[in-house]
Amino acid sequence: MVNVLKDGWLTFKSIFIGMGVTIRHFFSPSVTELYPEEKVELPKGARAQLFVNIDDCIGCNLCARACPVNCIDIETVQATSDVDLGKTSTGNPKRFWLTRFNIDMAKCMYCDLCVQPCPTDCIYMVPDYEYSEYDRNNLVFHFSDLTPDKVAEVKDKAEKEAEEKQRQKEEMIRKKEEEKRKKEQEEQKETSADKIEENTKDEGSEKDSSDTKEGDA
């Protein structure tokens, strides 16, 4: 009988202790964040959307090479000698037009590996995580600030300059060869007398080498 009463007392005691705990939580403020209205600030170094400060990019392609899933697509065109692209905020001279700088965030695996190698710290992650799209193609972010016309113009110019350079190079080579030939001709004239002797000497040495090879076999 005593035990029954004791058990009964313990039962009610524990029930009321439990109810006390729940009622205290009933009146304590909730911990819910009302997400779209209230946003929690992301911690420092949180991995979210990639961003490229295109003004600082020197087109070195290091990030694209570091990317394990190939989600960065860069196309550069060398700047022609008549334009000066200026310098980045870190002081590096810019030598390339960035005609294409696309990041496919649908492919991105948020590994942060592209951020480390950047020499000008122009690619980094920004705390923006709300960029859902209905079409996967809309997840390709274009960072190049050049218009298609400008791209075409720049490419055209660069091509022309490259052709020009190529032509100059070829001309130079041709000039050099011509000079060489002239020199050789002059030399030939000077040494035409002992030319025949040299030729016969060469043939003889060749024959010797072939003989030794046969003997080895």
């Binding site: 109810m19 729940t22 009622i23 939580h25 009933f26 304590s28 909730s30 911990v31 009302l34």
Partner: protein, 342 residues
């Protein structure tokens, strides 16, 4: 029978009498389902439904109802079609019919019959039948297990419920709930307390505790929610139900909860009597006090739901047959003795 509807046609009066409890049940169900989710949220340091309708998601239940209305009415192929479709309505009818003898205010009671409490207990036992019906007709092991558990539970717990109701009848001397309530008006227990039965007799406090535990089990509330224990029986007897038929079960469950809470308020807490004697008394205030008392009990039921874990089946039976039933009968004798002596 009452002053409000004295001069209108009998047919119309009947309709009005039928619609008043129905309105109360429907509004209560909408509010209580939302309220239960909010209470659950607050107790767990969440917010609960928050979006629908503006302020704290008050329209959540209405949105849920609209969703349920659009759902397909699925009847399993191997189910017993008629019983499967009929069970939810029968369940709701059982709890709805019992509201006829609940005195909502000093001016309104559905039916002024002399055997009010007896009728109420008799009608609510149909609930057991409809739960077994639903469980068996679904032709599903979870449903059948839930239905069988429910039958065992409700039949068992009806005994302590009736025994504790009997203690009140011993004190009040009437089966009519209106008379029981009228008996409790006035404010002179110990000079200041209202004449509610819970204050009149120390053994009636024990009776109320037993009664409250029993009604938790009767209305399948946690910690006695074995018929529909989600973690072991999917949803018990409701497993195969969808759409509006499921909503009927939900409605019946909440109606049952309200009914038993209101019964508790009538029997132990003075029904529609104001706690301040003549102050704030009258038919409408009576309705307010009555619902307030009932809703406080409903709140305690919800509060317990988010506090206690579920009992095992054998523990449930143990509590009923070897604790509550002996205790309630001993208590009945003690209450009777107290009444004889004082």
């Amino acid at each position: 029978m009452n002053e409000f509807f004295g001069n209108i046609e009998p047919g119309l009066a009947l309709l009005v009498h039928a619609l008043i409890p129905l309105t109360i049940i429907l509004v209560f169900a909408l509010v209580a389902i939302w309220g239960e989710r909010k209470i659950a949220g607050f107790i767990q340091d969440r917010l609960g439904p928050y979006r629908v309708g503006g302020w704290h998601g008050w329209a959540q239940s209405i949105a849920d109802l609209l969703k349920l209305l659009q759902k397909e009415d699925i009847v399993p192929r191997d189910a017993s079609r008629f019983l499967f479709k009929f069970a939810p309505f029968m369940m709701f009818a059982a709890s709805y019919a019992a509201f006829a003898v609940i005195p909502f205010s000093s001016a309104y009671i559905g039916s002024m019959i002399n055997i009010g409490v007896f009728y109420l207990l008799a009608v609510t036992s149909i609930l057991t039948l409809s739960v077994i019906m639903a469980g068996w007709a679904s032709n599903n092991k979870w449903s059948l297990l839930g239905g069988m558990r429910s039958a065992a539970q409700m039949v068992s717990y009806e005994v302590p419920t009736i025994a504790t109701v009997l203690t009140v009848i011993v004190v009040s001397g009437s089966l009519n709930l209106m008379t029981v309530t009228e008996m409790q008006s006035g404010n002179d227990t110990l000079g200041f307390l209202p004449n509610w039965l819970i204050f009149q007799n120390p053994f009636l406090i024990i009776a109320f505790i037993i009664f409250f535990i029993s009604i938790l089990a009767e209305s399948h509330r946690v910690p006695f929610d074995l018929p529909e224990s989600e973690s072991e029986l999917v949803a018990g007897y409701q497993t195969e139900y969808s759409g509006m038929r499921w909503a009927m079960f939900m409605l019946a469950e909440y109606a049952d909860m309200l009914l038993l809470s209101l019964l508790g308020a009538t029997l132990f807490f003075g029904g529609w009597n104001s706690p301040f004697g003549e102050f704030m008394a009258g038919p409408l205030w009576g309705y307010f006090w009555f619902m307030a008392k009932g809703l406080i009990l409903v709140f305690v039921m919800m509060w317990i739901r988010w506090t206690l874990p579920r009992y095992r089946v054998d523990q449930l039976m143990h509590i009923c047959w070897s604790v509550l039933i002996p205790a309630s009968f001993i208590n009945l004798i003690l209450v009777a003795l107290w009444e004889v002596i004082f």
